[in-house]
C-alpha cells in the first residue's frame, strides 16, 4: 500500500467513525420528532393536547364501527389494547379498513381521547396468503393472532 493510499484510507475510516457517531446522535434526537403516528397510549401520556393535524394508529376495535345514516359519517374506536381513542369521520372508508385490523387516522384532537378524523389510512401487515389458506387456518384453529393486527 502506497503512502497516498494509506492516507486516503485513514481519512475514510476517520470520517466514517465521525459520521457514525453524528448519525447516532441525529437518530436519537429524531426518535422524538419523526413519529409517523401516535398510539392511544402515547396520547394519554402527553402532558398537553397537541394542536393541528396529528396521526393516531392502532387496531380498529371489534364491534366499534357505527355508521350515522344521515350524513354518511362514522364513529369507531382505535385501540392499542391498553388505551382507546374515539374517532369521528365523515367520508369514504378504504377497502382494507376493517374491525380488528390496523389503521392510521389523520385528524385534529378535540381532547386527548377524541379525534376528529380528516383522512383514514388502512395499515396492511406483512402476511400474504391465498383466501383458501386463510380459511383453512381459521378452521383448523391454527390462525395466528398476529394476522389480525
Amino acid at each position: 500500500m502506497s503512502p497516498a493510499t494509506k492516507k486516503r484510507l485513514s481519512y475514510f475510516l476517520i470520517s466514517t467513525i465521525v459520521l457514525l457517531v453524528v448519525g447516532k446522535f441525529v437518530y436519537n434526537s429524531l426518535q422524538g420528532n419523526t413519529v409517523y403516528f401516535f398510539s392511544p397510549t402515547d396520547l394519554s401520556n402527553l402532558s398537553e393536547k397537541p394542536n393541528g393535524l396529528i396521526r393516531v394508529g392502532g387496531l380498529v376495535k371489534k364491534n366499534s364501527i357505527k355508521e350515522k345514516q344521515k350524513n354518511a359519517s362514522y364513529t369507531f374506536t382505535i385501540t392499542d389494547l391498553k388505551n382507546d381513542t374515539y374517532v369521528e369521520y365523515e367520508g369514504l372508508l378504504p377497502n382494507l379498513f376493517q374491525e380488528g385490523k390496523g389503521a392510521v387516522i389523520e385528524g385534529v384532537l378535540k381532547d386527548k381521547k377524541f379525534l376528529l378524523a380528516q383522512k383514514i389510512l388502512a395499515k396492511h401487515d406483512e402476511n400474504y396468503m391465498p383466501p383458501e389458506v386463510a380459511e383453512a387456518l381459521k378452521k383448523s384453529g391454527n390462525w395466528n393472532k398476529n394476522y389480525d393486527q
Binding site: L19, V35, L96, K119, K123, N127
Partner: protein, 237 residues
C-alpha cells in the same frame, strides 16, 4: 465468474453470449409474469392488488442492492484508485435509478387501493425517495462534470454518502412507526408469505437480476468505448 468482470474478458463476451442472456432473462420474466399475474392466488385481504408486489418488491430489492454495489465500488475506486470500479458504479447507476422509480411508482399504485393514499411521508417512503435523489445526484455529477477525474471524485463521494441511507431504508420499518408494513421475507425467520406467492416473487427477482446484468454488460462496454474515445483508456490498468 470473477474473470468476467475483468476489462479484457468483457470484450471477449461475444454476441452469442448477449443473445442467450437476452433469451434467458426474457423467458424468465415472461414466465414469472404469467405466474404472478394469472397463476398465483389472490390475497385473502388485498385480492388482486397483491399482484403489484411481484414487480414492486424485486424492483425495490434491486434498487437497494445496486446502490450498495455502487457505494462499495466507489470506496474501492476512491481509496485504492482501482479505476475499473468507478466504471462499474457508473454503469450500474441508471439501472438502479430505473428500479427505484419503478419501486416508487408501483408502490403508490398499490398504496391507493390498500392504504387509501398514493403517498405519505412515513420513514420508509421518505427514505426511498432520498435514494431516488441520491441516484439523480450521482448521475448528474457525471453529466455536469466534463472532467473525468473530478466527476469520478464527486460521484464517488455521493455514492459513499448514499450508502448510509441503505440501512435506513431497510430498517426504517423497524426503527419507526410507519404506514409501510415490515418485511415479509427475513433471513432469520420463516417468510410471512405463502409459498404459492413466494415462488413467482423469486422468479421475478431472478429475471430482474439477469436483466440488470444484461444492461450492466452493455453499459460497461459503452463506458469503455467512451474512455477509448477520450483517450483515457490507459487509466484502467
Amino acid at each position: 465468474m470473477l474473470d468476467l468482470f475483468q476489462l479484457k474478458k468483457i470484450f471477449q463476451l461475444g454476441d452469442s453470449f448477449f443473445y442467450w442472456l437476452k433469451i434467458l432473462f426474457m423467458s424468465i420474466i415472461i414466465f414469472g409474469l404469467i405466474l404472478s399475474l394469472f397463476v398465483s392466488p389472490k390475497d385473502y385481504l388485498q385480492g388482486d392488488t397483491v399482484r403489484i408486489m411481484y414487480v414492486h418488491v424485486p424492483a425495490s430489492w434491486l434498487s437497494l442492492i445496486i446502490f450498495s454495489a455502487m457505494g462499495v465500488s466507489s470506496i474501492i475506486a476512491l481509496i485504492f484508485k482501482i479505476r475499473v470500479f468507478t466504471i462499474y458504479a457508473k454503469s450500474l447507476a441508471p439501472i438502479g435509478f430505473t428500479f427505484s422509480l419503478i419501486s416508487i411508482f408501483t408502490g403508490s399504485l398499490w398504496g391507493q387501493p390498500t392504504w387509501g393514499t398514493f403517498w405519505t411521508w412515513d420513514a420508509r417512503l421518505t427514505s426511498m425517495l432520498v435514494l431516488v435523489f441520491f441516484y439523480i445526484f450521482y448521475i448528474l455529477s457525471w453529466k455536469l462534470n466534463k472532467n473525468f477525474f473530478s466527476a469520478e471524485k464527486y460521484s464517488s463521494i455521493i455514492a459513499i454518502l448514499g450508502l448510509a441511507n441503505i440501512p435506513i431504508i431497510k430498517f426504517s420499518v423497524e426503527w419507526w412507526n410507519t404506514l409501510h408494513q415490515p418485511a415479509s421475507i427475513k433471513l432469520t425467520e420463516a417468510p410471512a408469505i405463502h409459498s404459492s406467492m413466494l415462488m413467482p416473487l423469486f422468479i421475478m427477482f431472478i429475471g430482474f437480476s439477469l436483466f440488470s446484468l444484461f444492461v450492466f454488460f452493455i453499459r460497461y462496454k459503452t463506458e469503455i468505448l467512451k474512455l477509448k474515445q477520450n483517450k483515457l483508456k490507459n487509466i484502467l490498468k
